[in-house]
Amino acid sequence: MSRALYDLIGLAAGVCFILALKGLSHPKTARRGNLIGAVGATVATLVVFAYKAPLHNLGWILGAMAVGALIGVPAARKVQMTQMPQLVALFNGVGGGAAALVAIVEYQALGADATTAEVIFTVFTVVVGCVSFSGSVITFLKLQELMTTRPVVFPGGRFVIAATLAAVLGVSGWVVVALGTTPLLVLAALSLLFGILFVLPVGGADVPIVISLLNAFTGLTVAASGYVLNSTLLIIAGTLVGASGTILTRLMAEAMGRSLFGTLFGAFTAKPQDTSAAGEERPVRSGSPDDVAILLNYARRVVIVPGFGLAVAQAQHTVRELADLMISKSIDVAYGIHPVAGRMPGHMNVLLAEANVPYDQLAEMDEVNPTFGQTDVAIVIGANDVVNPAAQTTPGCPIYGMPILEVSNAANVIFLKRSMRPGFAGIENELLYDPKTMLLFGDAKASLTKVVSALKAL
């Protein structure tokens, strides 16, 4: 195959990726967009075999691809929708790791022939790829709750990070000047360490923003390795992901009312939270499923605010049953969806769509907030941070400035909670102690089932 044909097919794959991102930006075309992207990636992979034929190490290559497919496909198929954010983080991390490895091997192969520009791009790929890899692993551990979801800050932490960053930059310079594999491997190790230190201080609720940022990083490493490998396709694909990922990160940060800077460095600049209030025993009003059913039966308008707890309890179908029952009683029902309900922006929409909740019942935050004044009952199921008034009233708390669903304007608020444990961001919610709030403790699914049967009996 001629170089020109190879490049043309690569360009076609690049166009596929543009169409894929374009398609993914609209609900109607999203699925098709993703398929177009998959076609582009498949074509790009197959054409390498044709162009470089006969390939050395063909057996190894095919075997490695088979192993990758055997790991990736079942993981993607079997993952529960609630655990999807961490899977996306892992997939992103391994991509960054792959880019770093490619750069290291290519550097070995180039040896003394490498131009300064190639060495600089190699260094960039190794540093950012390794940061993306280890950072993604930490975000995975946080989301899977294998480690604390709170910001991890240790004394002198910021100096350690600054020192590590300085070391990374120093060794980068060393690689460019001295050349050689050893400095490059030292650089990889330092970058892995930096990735860990960089993500540790990020609080749980901000993790999705970091995943998105690392995703953009990985895109840029792919573009940089495209330069070293002389592949237009990799440059186009990587740059597209880098640019769109940056925009997406900013959009997400805006939806959460956070500045990107605040997300990444917030744990260092903010004062430690005063958690003393959490220890106090304060009276709350708890109710029975029957109390909740009676309240709902005489309501005219009910807004359901689903949170991650709903999904963890697998209660999406039960909540839809409750909504259908209320609608049959001529009660006006809407779901108030916070942009970051769940673990990632749009995650809750996916979870409810899985339970066949009609799209037109899902109201976005800006739509639903003005209606809480006319709402008789707001039912908050397994959500906490997204309705916490502290975001508006307590400057300095980790979620301050995040737009919230203003359920406190509703005539009654019902919280379905497992316990008084605070939400993912670890902040006390004053609304729980409000006189118009009723708490229904227990597993969301079990509680909802009881409410449904109590409501049927009325």
Binding site: L21, L24, S25, H26, P27, A30, N34, A38, A41, T45, K52, L55, H56, N57, I61, G68, A69, I71, G72, A75, A76, M84, L87, V88, F91, V94, G95, I104, V105, E106, Q108, A109, N215, S225, G226, Y227, T232, L234, I235, I236, A237, T239, L240, V241, G242, A243, T246, I247, L248, L251, M344, P345, G346, H347, V350, A353, N356, Y359, D360, E364
Partner: protein, 97 residues
């Protein structure tokens, strides 16, 4: 490829990347992130190229590992994105925001 051509490709791709996602609703942030994530799995192409000219055992080990990781990224990424988007089907009413 000369440097100017590469810089041109890079700059144009940046603007295309900015443009295509600038007006996306928050509903689609997660699938879009996941889809973009799958696209950078195309580093698999690079992994295959470096593996095909690996000479030493170390190079071979590292590049085989790179292929495994890149394949997970690419195939897994597209499959999980498709699973997510599959759930939006049939709910197209009012979806065009």
């Amino acid at each position: 490829m000369d440097a100017m051509a590469i810089v041109s490709i890079f700059v144009l791709a940046v603007f295309v990347g900015f443009e295509v996602v600038s007006k996306v609703s928050s509903t689609l942030h997660t699938p879009l992130m996941s889809g973009a994530n799958a696209i950078h799995g195309v580093i698999l192409v690079g992994a295959i190229i470096v593996c095909s000219h690996s000479e030493t055992t170390l190079e071979l080990i590292l590049s085989v590992l790179a292929i495994v990781l890149a394949t997970i990224n690419m195939i897994g990424g597209f499959v999980v994105t498709d699973r997510m988007l599959e759930m939006f089907k049939g709910n197209k009413k009012g979806a065009d925001k």
